[in-house]
């Protein structure tokens, strides 16, 4: 009987730890989303639009989940350093140069990345700033 009680307490506490871990990630996600939204408004929205719709063929929309998924490891580098190559988004080509935002810190880049990849119909989950810092270390 005693063994039973100890066992079940143990199992419950493990389950509790896992549940609280998930909660922490949800909280982080919410924090990143709200900070990321502010940075998006200040730095990105003038070209990419309030709803990520882009601007003609001058700035691509951010609604192409396939592109975002395929380039997930590069997104942090693009946000920080800009982009100067032709890309294809939703079957249209875009050639204009995107400026870099070197003033953003690693955590800010992570926040914008999380905001973009989880807004405008995208739903690609959380990236921690440790992960983003690693990605930024590998920028070309």
């Amino acid at each position: 009987m005693r063994r039973h009680i100890i066992r079940s307490v143990f199992i419950f506490s493990i389950a509790g730890i896992i549940a609280s871990c998930q909660n922490q990630e949800t909280i982080d996600l919410q924090n990143y989303l709200s900070s990321g939204k502010d940075i998006y408004k200040a730095k990105c929205q003038n070209c990419h639009g309030e709803n990520g719709e882009g601007l003609g063929q001058l700035a691509p929309p951010l609604t192409d989940s396939v592109f975002l998924k395929n380039n997930k490891a590069r997104l942090a580098c693009i946000i920080k350093n800009g982009l100067n190559e032709e890309i294809s988004i939703l079957d249209k080509t875009y050639k204009e140069k995107m400026p870099g935002f070197p003033e953003l810190t690693d955590i800010e880049v992570a926040q914008v990345k999380v905001f973009i990849t989880n807004s405008f119909g995208n739903n690609q989950g959380f990236s921690s700033y440790h992960q983003v810092a690693k990605e930024l270390g590998k920028c070309k």
Binding site: Q45, N46, L55, Q57, L58, P99
Partner: protein
């Protein structure tokens, strides 16, 4: 009984007054003004107010064709100052202005004039590409290239929009994001912050009011 009739009558009077006010709504005139003695058609002398007028201009358009103020004769137009490599306020201004352009696309009495302030890079071919990528085709929306002197003077003295080179600014230039509404007599009749959707909405409402002044 008399009291009731009186109060109904006075209510009606107030309503009538208010509605007549809105009917005569006229946009204000901006800029300098002075009084001048002029002769009317019958040769009678009278004093008239002379408002600030946009002077004649001549620039290259996005097709590298010399374009002058004559292209806006008989039209009301919206003027602004921008440059193609601007990453701060210009995309927002032109995104909002596209909404106005689309609304008046089929109205031959309305046109659009955007002056670049980047005299080094924004040659007509660059402006053409920019216009196409923004989604503008044809002469209704002019993108004009001119020397620094002519464009900057026109901006500051005539359209009352501040522009300038600034090596400390992110893209090398600074300018105000006003959309300036000009009437058929080349007077300034409105200035709207092109980065604010609510002011651009006001511009959309003011253009028909301005056009209505000429329908008499």
């Amino acid at each position: 009984m008399n009291k009731i009739i009186f109060s109904i009558a006075s209510c009606l009077l107030v309503v009538a007054l208010l509605s007549s006010c809105t009917q005569n709504k006229k946009l204000p005139y901006y800029g300098e003004r002075h009084a001048e003695t002029v002769r009317d058609a019958a040769g009678v002398e009278k004093i008239d107010t002379v408002y600030q007028t946009i002077p004649n201009w001549s620039f290259l358009n996005q097709d590298s064709v010399v374009t002058t103020n004559k292209s806006t004769d008989g039209k009301v137009y919206v003027a602004d100052f921008f440059f193609t490599s601007c990453t701060t306020i210009c995309p927002t201004m032109h995104r909002n202005l596209m909404g106005v352009y689309n609304e008046f696309k089929t109205n031959p009495d309305v046109s659009f004039v955007s002056h670049t302030i980047d005299f080094k890079y924004d040659k007509p071919s660059v402006l053409k590409k920019y216009a196409q990528k923004l989604g503008v085709d044809g002469p209704k929306w002019l993108f004009l290239y001119g020397s620094k002197d002519s464009v900057y003077t026109l901006a500051e003295k005539s359209y009352l929009v501040a522009v300038g080179e600034d090596s400390t600014a992110k893209d090398g230039y600074i300018h105000q994001g006003y959309l300036v509404l000009i009437d058929k007599d080349k007077h300034i009749r409105g200035a709207y912050d092109g980065t604010k959707p609510e002011e651009v909405e006001k511009l959309k409402q003011d253009i028909p009011l301005l056009l209505a002044e000429y329908k008499k």
